[in-house]
């Protein structure tokens, strides 16, 4: 027992930094020590077993103890190791012995099995869970034993699974893992004998395979994530905030790739493979008037010519109901894919948001730990660049100083009237800017419609691309302008950032919607001309028929044969809209890349090389290098995505284009940021703004959903182009399918389902459900708050009980003073341990008893009570009265609570 003692000693001396769980074990430890140690001799083993069996009543507890015994000893070793007090040789020996002992014990048991059986006959209760014993009587295992063993095996497995969550040394975990695995291996074999063995073996094998497969799959998944190293490199240079942009970009790329898969697989590919080839019908042919210039680069660059009559755009698709041998319903697929893209994006965005929100935990109590958080969590461990680290030091220092100053004088008395005036002024100016930019766009779009009516040859390049140019320019100029105006407001930087984001968002949104409204005007114009044209065509055909029949005097008129290139065709507003969007995306891309090239790259080059011959220090002084504008870039990305969502219905090729754009963007921006940007002066962390961006994305998604759904539901599709031509409304395609291709009863169901009488209650039900869930969540929030309060109270109680004999526990003292019969209360200095432990009310101190009970029960709700003392103190008082407490000495009952 010498060693056991020594171990205990080291444990006492060593820091008590492991949780309560080992304190729980401590009282039982001594006995266990004895067991783990010898085991070399057969005799010992047997004795051990007998002892265990005698303690049959305590079996469940002992089992837990057995379970944790190994951990315990390991833990002790770990501690000794850390303290460097015990020689490691001994420790290794110990480990080896232990393992050997286990194995040996198992071998030994075969010999002793007969003896064991005899004993067993007397007592067939399966009370003990000793490993070697179970091993010994494999043949005569009762059901209960098997169950128990299974349970134990399960526990070991669980241990294996959770081992990585323990903050122990690798060596120790390794040993534990090996032991557990060995155990599982052995006993799975043992369990295999008897009934259901094959099934069990099969199950075990399958779980093993499954685990392995899962792990491989995990590995494969991480191997598949692209740009991990690139982002990591950026991360180490610029901190996690800049990296968050690239992670967002990558996420966006993934999303677009999937959307592209939908679009390409369900719409584009079928049309290419099974639809009519180019030139077969008017909508798939370049008109004769345009054929001369159809291959010109300038025309193609504007997405005219061959581009306009290609699968990139809506107009190319045929309205034939089924195509190819597969009878693929292209129009239906087109509509469903167009809507499905929105549905899918919505789902993905919301799911990501929910996951982020879960990870973020409750942000309810911000401000409670401002200083501690600054202290403990402000360092970004990913920073690997000295320059960034210097910036980070500076920013942390400033934030410390700031918060100290804030704390000192919470209210700065500045001229509040001036500040208010300035803020109002700034907002007015920004509103003017927004209005101006909106009007400018409206004006330009109107003008471009006038230009469109003129002869394209007489127009300059600028006149043709005025809209895109102006929109990009506004996007370029306004944000810095806003930033300058925001200087007036003098907000805290974080609030200022939010305002800035909100304003840019408003600008982009305003621009986009103005653009859309202008586009709608155009569409309406086109619809009118189309109507005229349609009437004219019908009239012409009618005339032709009449003439033909009157000329040849027959009713059997052959259809009019016109070369597809010569056919009269409508303006096809859908394609026009699609082209507008594609042009917008392309010009946006150009502007982004040019900004990077000029604003970042050229600036960096000038600063770098002109610095040799300049009056002042360019690098440190005025122009300096550019910083990476996270918020602007993220917003740009979000709006780009919004335009994709809006345009994808009219230009199926747009998604593919966007995938390319994001791909180049990834490489280009990674290069640019590494080559010519400097880390932020105020390095701020990504933290939870991620969900903020996701929220913006959701909003944009919703806003881009509106116009598309509006056009699908209300505008008539063009009569001579696109998959819905000839129909009244685009969604008629669904109706048609339901009535013609599906069984009749489904049609009936659908009719019922669309009945307002049914929809209204459904909506009502949903509203009620939302209301109910909202109430429930509020209730939970309240419960959360209450629990927090309780926890805090428990902590207060606890620290009062522990620290203060009678000085700080003011409330208790006051109460005490109020009590009439003070004499009945034992003097505060005297401590009777049994009383201290008892949760029961004592006669004589009724008022206090109530209080105490509350204390104890509250304390028991808190499993993580702070542990300030080494466990040695626990051993002191006789523990026989500890029974009523939930777990002996859960970290708090050790020093007798003062009875003051």
């Amino acid at each position: 027992n010498r060693r056991a003692k020594a171990q205990r000693k080291t444990k006492q001396v060593s820091d008590d930094e492991d949780d309560e769980e080992d304190e729980d074990e401590a009282p039982r430890k001594r006995g266990r020590r004895k067991r783990t140690k010898p085991q070399d001799s057969d005799q010992d083993d047997e004795e051990d077993k007998r002892r265990v069996r005698q303690k049959g009543a305590k079996a469940p507890r002992r089992k837990a103890a057995n379970e944790e015994r190994d951990e315990e000893s390991e833990e002790d070793q770990g501690k000794r190791k850390k303290g460097g007090r015990a020689p490691s040789k001994q420790e290794k020996e110990d480990q080896n012995k232990e393992r050997k002992g286990n194995v040996k014990g198992k071998d030994e048991t075969n010999k002793g099995s007969e003896k064991d059986k005899k004993k067993k006959n007397g007592k067939q209760t399966s009370s003990s869970e000793d490993e070697s014993e179970d091993e010994s009587d494999e043949e005569s295992m009762s059901e209960g034993e098997i169950a128990a063993l299974k349970e134990q095996v399960e526990e070991k497995k669980k241990l294996i699974a959770t081992l990585r969550n323990k903050p122990w040394r690798m060596k120790r975990r390794l040993v534990l893992l090996k032991e557990a695995q060995e155990f599982v291996e052995k006993f799975e074999g043992a369990l295999g004998k008897g009934r259901g063995k094959k099934l069990y073996a099969f199950k075990v094998m399958m779980t093993k395979k499954l685990i392995k497969f899962n792990r491989d799959f995990e590995n494969f998944k991480t191997a598949c994530i692209p740009w991990e190293r690139k982002i990591k490199e950026v991360e180490s240079h610029f901190g996690s905030s800049v990296a968050s942009y690239f992670i967002f970009l990558r996420w966006m790329y993934g999303l677009n790739l999937i959307l592209f898969g939908f679009m390409f697989g369900l719409v584009v590919l079928p049309e290419v493979l099974m639809g009519l080839p180019y030139g077969s019908i008017p909508r798939k042919t370049v008109p004769r008037s345009e054929q001369d210039t159809a291959m010109d680069f300038s025309v193609l660059f504007d997405f005219g010519g061959y581009c306009k009559y290609s699968i990139l755009f809506y107009g190319y698709y045929n309205n034939e109901r089924n195509i190819g041998v597969l009878k693929f319903r292209l129009p239906l697929s087109y509509l469903l894919t167009g809507v499905g893209i929105f549905g899918y994006s919505l789902m993905v965005v919301i799911r990501t948001m929910a996951r982020n929100a879960n990870e973020g935990g409750d942000g309810g109590d911000e401000g409670e730990f401002t200083f501690s958080w600054k202290m403990f969590t402000s360092w970004d461990y990913l920073i690997g660049n000295p320059e960034t680290a210097d910036n980070k030091y500076a920013s942390i220092t400033t934030s410390f100083k700031e918060s100290i100053v804030d704390e000192k004088e919470n209210q700065k008395d500045e001229n509040i009237h001036l500040q208010r005036f300035l803020r109002i002024l700034a907002n007015i100016m920004i509103l003017c800017c927004l209005g101006g930019s909106g009007y400018l766009i409206y004006f330009v779009v109107k003008r471009s419609q006038d230009f469109a009516k003129m002869d394209p040859a007489s127009l300059t390049w600028f006149q043709k691309n005025e809209v895109e140019f102006v929109m990009s320019l506004l996007g370029l100029v306004c944000p810095p302008l806003f930033e300058t105006i925001a200087e007036l407001e003098d907000y805290h930087p974080r609030i200022a950032l939010k305002w800035q984001l909100g304003r840019i968002f408003a600008l982009f949104l305003g621009n986009l919607y103005t653009f859309l409204f202008a586009l709608f005007d155009e569409v309406n114009d086109k619809l009118e001309t189309e109507q005229e044209l349609k009437n004219a065509t019908e009239w012409a055909i009618h005339e032709y028929n009449a003439n033909y029949s009157s000329y040849y005097n027959t009713m059997d008129v052959p259809p009019l044969v016109v070369n597809p290139a010569d056919a009269v065709r409508g303006p096809c507003w859908e394609t026009a809209v699609g082209i507008e969007f594609v042009k917008l995306i392309v010009s946006d891309m150009q502007v982004t890349f040019l900004t990077i090239l000029i604003g970042d790259f050229a600036r960096a080059i000038i600063v770098r090389f002109l610095n040799y011959c300049w009056c002042w220090d360019l690098e440190a002084g005025f122009p300096s290098y550019a910083e990476f504008d996270i918020s602007g870039n993220v917003l740009g990305l979000i709006f780009n995505q919004g335009m994709i969502w809006m345009g994808a219905f009219y230009a199926p090729g747009l998604v593919g284009l966007n995938v390319l754009r994001l791909l180049t963007s990834m490489y280009f921006q990674c290069w640019a940021v590494m080559a010519c940007n400097v880390p932020h002066e105020r390095v701020f962390k990504a933290s939870r703004s991620n969900n903020f961006y996701m929220g913006l994305l959701l909003l944009v998604l919703f806003l881009s959903l509106l116009p598309v759904v509006y056009t699908i539901m209300t505008l008539p599709p063009s009569f001579d182009c696109g998959p819905f031509s000839g129909q009244d409304r685009m969604y008629d395609v669904v109706m048609e399918t339901i009535t013609q291709d599906l069984p009749a009863f489904i049609g009936t169901i659908f009719t019922y389902a669309t009945n307002p009488g049914l929809i209204m209650p459904a909506v009502l039900l949903m509203v009620l459900a939302i209301y109910y869930l909202n109430t429930v969540s509020k209730g939970y929030q309240q419960a959360n708050l209450d629990l927090k309060k309780k926890m805090k109270m428990a902590r207060d109680e606890e620290k009062n009980r522990r620290n203060n004999k009678d000085s700080t526990n003011q409330v208790m003292k006051d109460l005490e003073d109020l009590l009439p019969n003070k004499s009945l209360i034992p003097p505060p200095t005297e401590e009777e341990p049994p009383h201290g432990k008892s949760t029961k009310m004592k006669p004589g101190s009724a008022g206090k008893g109530v209080n105490l009970q509350k204390e104890v029960s509250l304390a028991a709700t808190n499993p993580r009570g702070p542990v300030a003392h080494p466990p040695r103190a626990r051993g002191g008082p006789p523990g026989h009265l500890r029974g009523p407490l939930p777990g002996p000495g859960r970290g708090r009952g050790r020093g007798a609570p003062p009875r003051t």
Binding site: R164, A223, F369, S372, W373, W379, G384, K401, S687
Partner: protein, 189 residues
């Protein structure tokens, strides 16, 4: 790459995967980086130690103000010299990896901040911590009154039992509320 793969046996690789939060690729990469730090003759030894001086030259740790502490905490060396074996190194990476739990992370963060290894963060620890965070330069340092103010504020917030120190459970309590601790307590090779 072939040589490193052969050095790590398949069993130990799978064991390491079982025991850490790292994936196979990350372990292999870690092994590669670790062997690069070793001297020629040490490469054959299984439990060779890399001294702290060479560990902290890793670009991932180079500009970290806590680099020495990190090595000390994860080292199993008996001389307390902060040298790391490969397993220690894996321990380190696992604790700092993306998928490590808050519990593990906060545990190690506490150990790192506990400069004198006494199991609590007392005033001296906090002061050192502040100095680490504000950098070595003199002008960046906080004045003594500021320091006092800061430390008293921190103790005010997080020292629940008012014993003048922050212990592990108090620390974990504070950390678990922080929105961005998990995302910033990361080191990726």
């Amino acid at each position: 790459m072939g040589t490193t793969a052969s050095q790590l046996s398949k069993e130990s690789l799978s064991e390491y995967q079982e025991l850490t939060f790292l994936t196979k690729q990350e372990i292999l990469l870690a092994h590669k980086r670790f062997t690069e730090l070793l001297e020629k003759h040490e490469k054959e030894q299984i439990d060779a130690r890399v001294p702290i001086g060479r560990i902290i030259t890793l670009p991932e740790l180079k500009s970290n103000p806590f680099k020495e502490r990190i090595c000390q905490v994860f080292s199993t060396s008996e001389q307390k010299d902060g040298s790391l074996t490969f397993e220690d190194f894996l321990d380190l990476l696992s604790a700092f990896s993306d998928s490590a739990t808050l519990e593990i992370k906060s545990h190690y963060a506490f150990r790192i901040f506990d400069f004198d290894d006494d199991g609590t963060l007392d005033c001296a620890d906090l002061e050192k911590l502040v100095n680490c965070l504000t950098g070595e330069t003199n002008d960046a340092k906080l004045s003594s009154t500021e320091m006092k103010q800061l430390i008293s504020n921190i103790l005010e917030e997080s020292d629940i039992d008012k014993d003048g120190t922050v212990n592990l459970s108090e620390f974990q309590h504070v950390i678990s509320r922080s929105p961005d601790f998990v995302s910033s307590f990361k080191i990726v090779l």
